[in-house]
Amino acid sequence: MEQTSNEWSKESLFAKAQLYAEVMFEHQDNNWQFGLWSAFVIEMLVRATVSNVSPVLLADSKDWNNLLHALDKPIKKQKFVAKSASITELIQRVESLADGFTREHSNFCASHVARRNSEVHSGSMPFENLGTSSWLPNFFMVTQILADEIGESLESLLGREVAKQAKEEIEALKDDTANAVKGTIATHKTVWGDASPEEQEQARRQAATVSLRHYGHRVNCPACGCTALLVGKAAGEAKAEVSDDGIIERQVMRPETFQCVACSLKINGYSKLRAAGLGDSYISTSSYDALEYFDVDIDEHIRDMMADDNNEY
């Protein structure tokens, strides 16, 4: 029987990680709040992992009353406010406590927390327009390791749908063969360099004409620098908002294929695209007329306003 939970208990900290993750995924990938909340998720998971061994390990060692607080023991010191160790120190503690948590993971957590500190303690905007491919796969990798370590899972932290996406990102991160794409890009670059300036100019113009936003996301080709197209698949739910002109729907897309008309470079698969520096998710925006979006049949509404049908007179 316990009336309340210890605020440094694994249960309390993991519950907060769940809530923060929920808020994180309420924002789209390119929104700065998506990144900021992800850093809060990492912090709570790191703390939950340390607490899973013992809440005492969370205590700031400068004052032993913090140890008493971790043990839920009464504290006689006046005006005492419990203080836990800094997140940077706790990340190091996790490195010693969790088997699968390596120096690489520790470095990622420390750099992500540094972004958070920069966000909340300065006027800079470290999460604004931060490409997801540079951090999101690592974020998922670390959350999986930490969740496993405390007997939880990506599903219990993020929900089944996001966990599925997370596992795909983790697989892509682990895919060492994806780096072979860099060789393919280098070959295309060489061939492109062999073409005459006139041929290059003609191909560049052709690529700009053919690569329309309507068909995908326009990016610069990593081999020739011409305009090329990324095509992706929807990740998560589309967010709709009402504007003066109707409904604007924004959908986060995760890149799946790349094609450059100018140098004929083609890349298939997220892991290869990520290795090629083309892995950032993008937003696909669609505008709808309100009547079209809500599938409103005006004629039917007009008919409903008439008197009942009667073919007797």
């Binding site: 029987m1 009336q3 309340t4 939970s5 605020e7 309390s12 929920e22 599903e155 219990s156 089944r160």
Partner: protein
């Protein structure tokens, strides 16, 4: 005795003659299991019907009076509620039922991970703190439609589904019709409710003791 424990494990409650275990409620409770002292309450609590308004709105009697109490688990707003509650009849009222339902049945169609992600909290701070609560904590279930509140959207929709299911669920109805008759309820595996108290049931008197474990 094995029947006693089998019934308790299988149904989540057991009815028995208290006199086989002792004369007073505390003696019965001590012989059945390990008695718990609940902060701010007597070890043996006397339960009698009260009209709404005569008690504070922080108790079911203060809120519902003699009307029906909805299904709940006792102290659901605590981080870990007491495991068992023992009800000993002192003055019977045959018109009043205690209804018991196995909690597992209410959640069997829920997706495990969503159940874990649906977070609640006590409606008021307890010892100055608010704890995160889940309706299924891995080793026990909790429910209270008033004293715990949803924190997130998953919890709000789960709350609505639980309320809907509890209004149509089939339950076991127990009437404590004899003095010394006892009802031991597993507060972690069942939810219980009380029917409305009619005029002739106003003398009903039950004594309640919380137990941390039963002696197996």
């Amino acid at each position: 005795m094995s029947n006693f424990f089998n019934e308790l494990a299988e149904d989540g409650f057991v009815i028995f003659d208290g006199q086989s275990f002792g004369d007073s409620t505390i003696e019965i409770a001590t012989n059945v299991g390990t008695v718990m002292n609940v902060p701010g309450a007597k070890t043996v609590q006397e339960l009698t019907p009260s009209n709404k308004g005569s008690l504070e709105a922080s108790s079911y009697s203060g809120i519902y009076g003699v009307e029906e109490f909805p299904f709940h688990s006792d102290m659901a707003h605590w981080f870990r509620p007491p495991r068992y509650l023992l009800l000993c009849c002192k003055v019977p009222a045959i018109s009043v039922e205690t209804r018991v339902v196995k909690s597992e049945r209410i959640f069997e169609s829920e997706e495990t991970h969503d159940l874990r992600r649906a977070l609640f909290r006590p409606r008021r701070r307890l010892n100055g703190r608010l704890s995160h609560l889940r309706l299924f904590e891995g080793d026990f279930y909790r429910w209270d439609s008033l004293f715990i509140q949803p924190i997130n959207e998953l919890a709000s929709s789960l709350r609505s589904r639980v309320i809907d299911r509890l209004t149509v669920v089939s339950y076991e109805a127990v009437v404590l019709s004899n003095c010394h008759q006892c009802l031991l309820i597993d507060n972690w595996q069942t939810f219980h409710s009380r029917t409305a108290v009619t005029a002739e049931g106003m003398n009903r008197k039950i004594e309640r003791v919380y137990l941390a474990e039963v002696k197996g």
